[in-house]
């Protein structure tokens, strides 16, 4: 009986009622939240050159999105500390469902699917205790919440699934917030960010911290290379007069390595990296600073600075087949921003912080 059911299920998937794929949504290469001139928020799909394929409404300003690996659906997350996360059908723009957060939790802006797309993991704050949490949602059962476990720190922000399809990398930014005080940072003197590797059942596999001198360097965003190397981006919360490195690298079981750049190059970032992405074809990582108005490229293998380009209010970045694509608050998408002839597309929106690549990391 079990076998027969499996066969029927297989037939369904194979052709009797063909499952819809990202090709049906116009084969977008990227997703990004954006704000329209009238103040309404949307989730947009872009092709690999940055042209817009679709725009689906969101209830409020978004932050990041997570794209299902196979089905043309994406989860759009509220700007921190938000309570909405919508599963958007990218074919018709309808909301398939809304993630139902338990009382006492709020989202922290990011989420990641397991490699097979069966589970979604979301970063959350357990408000009462200020402990960082990972919420687990079953995408096969209407995104029902099936559990939650510790993120391994305070203030988890970004979360990514490693190429094994199971291990989660979590950026515990270390910053405690409370809904009552919005985005106010409540624990700067005692903050202790970390990068945690977490099994899908919540087991903490490994935790990595920076040297004590960088205790106030909030580890907030992650990008994963095809070989499992993790690049992480930081936001400095210490004295604004100091300029520590804001990009680091790690591999499970290995040691942390910080990016090497001249002091003037680091200063351009104004203490703040908003997003980062890996390009395996370029063997490089790109970091963006909207405050410094700059995108910088570093070698993935050696962590050394390669080149940079000025671009006002740049934040979203993703690696694609044609190199890096970046977005900014002026509505521009720029392909290969550090190249002599960057490809710029102007849109009548303000792009939000994160540009999400839909292609598998290895294809990037």
């Amino acid at each position: 009986m079990v076998q027969r059911r499996a066969v029927l299920a297989g037939l369904c998937a194979a052709g009797l009622a063909p499952a819809q794929s990202w090709a049906d949504a116009g084969d977008p290469a990227y997703l990004s939240a954006a704000m329209r001139p009238d103040g309404t928020a949307v989730l947009c799909g872009l092709n690999r050159l940055g042209a817009r394929l679709f725009a689906r409404p969101l209830p409020a300003r978004g932050h990041a999105a997570a794209a299902h690996p196979t089905r043309p659906e994406a989860v759009a997350f509220a700007r921190r500390p938000g309570t909405f996360a919508l599963v958007v059908n990218c074919l018709d723009g309808t909301t398939k469902t809304r993630l139902a957060l338990p009382r006492g939790h709020h989202f922290y802006g990011h989420g990641a699917f397991s490699g097979d797309g069966d589970l979604l993991f979301t970063t959350e704050n357990a408000i009462e205790t200020a402990r960082g949490m990972i919420g687990v949602w079953d995408t096969r059962r209407g995104y029902r919440r099936v559990g939650a476990f510790s993120s391994g720190g305070i203030g988890p922000h970004d979360i990514q699934c490693l190429p094994d399809g199971q291990t989660l990398a979590v950026a515990n930014g270390g910053i405690e917030t409370h809904p009552e005080t919005g985005r106010l940072k409540l624990n700067i003197p005692t903050m202790r960010p970390n990068l945690s590797y977490v099994a899908p059942d919540g087991g903490i596999l490994e935790q990595v911290t920076l040297d004590a001198a960088y205790r106030k360097n909030s580890l907030r965003h992650l990008a994963i290379a095809g070989d499992g190397a993790v690049a992480f981006a930081l936001q400095w919360q210490g004295d604004p007069g100091t300029h520590p490195p804001l990009l680091g690298f790690h591999r499970q079981g290995g040691r942390v390595r910080l990016a090497a750049a001249a002091p003037d190059t680091v200063r351009r970032l104004s203490g703040y990296v908003g997003s980062l992405a890996v390009s395996d074809v370029e063997n490089a990582v790109a970091i963006t600073s909207p405050r410094g108005g700059v995108v910088q490229i570093f070698g993935l293998a050696d962590g050394g600075f390669r080149r940079q380009a000025a671009l006002p209010d740049v934040c979203g970045v993703a690696g694609g087949p044609g190199g890096f694509l970046v977005t900014n608050g002026l509505g521009q998408t720029v392909q290969n921003p550090t190249a002599a002839r960057a490809h710029v597309v102007e849109h009548a929106v303000q792009w939000d912080n994160h540009l999400v690549a839909l292609r598998g990391r290895r294809a990037a």
């Binding site: 985005r183 005692t190 209010d313 934040c315 912080n353």
Partner: protein, 329 residues
């Protein structure tokens, strides 16, 4: 007050000439204010040593004078105030989790001997240090009538000693080199006058944002749910007074950055007039619509100052604010 609530973009193309007298800012605004903080906190420590009963008038008078001096520098969140988390240790607020009363109660319950050792007291959570902790010890019903006056006295003495030491350390660091770094850029910290002026502008903007969003916004809450109990230092009746003090201090600094700017002078004048006319010292009025409206109008007048700064003063320093740059995440 907490750091970096406001993000600003520093344009790559900075203005060629700068009309800001950085030396005057340090000499006439920053240094005298930190001197006042050091002096008043030293007196506070002395008063607590002499007589530490919570309702002792010389002690509470010294508390008010020193707290006034703190609010007058609470916008200057860079450099010496940030080293060793001194400013956090002077001013842990807001405190949505109630960490201050919890930590103080724990010290008292355990009769924690840490109060006897000034060096060790620096290891205590910042929630139990500084002016807001002292306010609890002097004014909150939970603490102000202590079961064991001896320990309570030692705790007050430890907190005031720690406040005075932090204030002295900040002043020392300014006088011991940091003032020169800001006054005469062209050093590793501030390579140009524009960089130093941008730092001062950021401090000013962040200070005004804190007054609007936190000092006024917290008690306002929402229309459906006003939160008068979240007003700053309400136990000692200081909430509105802090708004007046911080507006006065930020006006002084703003007019160093934009001397004679008529719109700025008018905007500060309107906000201060409204604050002075409010007659609601702890914003208790937010609980009913007419009182709430008056606090909202005051908040709007603070936001009007911020807008003038953003639109007229920031650009002269090569500063603009962007969609993502302001987002901070």
């Amino acid at each position: 007050m907490r750091l970096a609530m406001l993000a600003l973009v520093f344009l790559a193309t900075a203005p060629a000439a700068l009309a800001v007298d950085l030396a005057a800012i340090v000499r006439d605004h920053i240094t005298p204010r930190y001197q006042a903080l050091a002096t008043t906190t030293a007196l506070l420590e002395q008063q607590a040593k002499t007589a530490c009963a919570p309702q002792n008038p010389p002690l509470t008078a010294a508390y008010h004078r020193a707290f006034d001096a703190w609010v007058g520098v609470s916008h200057l969140r860079f450099g010496p105030s940030e080293a060793e988390d001194r400013a956090f240790a002077l001013a842990f607020w807001p405190d949505p989790r109630g960490a201050t009363p919890k930590t103080l109660a724990l010290l008292i319950r355990n009769s924690d001997p840490v109060v006897a050792d000034p060096v060790a007291y620096k290891t205590v959570s910042v929630a139990a240090r500084g002016f807001y902790a002292l306010e609890f010890l002097l004014y909150d019903p939970q603490f102000a009538a202590p079961e064991r006056p001896g320990y309570h006295c030692a705790l007050i003495q430890a907190v005031t000693r720690d406040i005075a030491a932090n204030a002295a350390a900040i002043l020392d660091a300014w006088q011991d080199g940091y003032a020169d770094l800001v006054s005469r850029p062209g050093n590793d910290l501030y390579r140009t006058e524009v960089e130093a002026a941008q730092q001062v502008f950021t401090a000013l903007s962040t200070g005004l944002e804190f007054t609007s969003v936190t000092r006024l916004g917290r008690p306002l809450g929402t229309f459906a749910r006003p939160r008068p109990n979240r007003a700053e230092a309400r136990r000692s009746g200081r909430a509105l007074h802090h708004v007046v003090l911080s507006l006065t201090a930020t006006r002084e600094l703003a007019l160093h950055l934009a001397p004679g700017n008529a719109r700025l002078i008018a905007a500060f004048g309107r906000a201060l007039d409204r604050a002075n006319a409010l007659d609601d010292p702890v914003f208790a009025g937010v609980a009913d619509p007419p009182g709430r409206l008056r606090v909202e109008v005051l908040q709007q007048s603070v936001d009007a100052i911020r807008q003038v700064l953003r639109q007229e003063v920031g650009p002269t320093l090569g500063i603009t604010a962007g969609f993502n740059a302001l987002d901070g995440d």
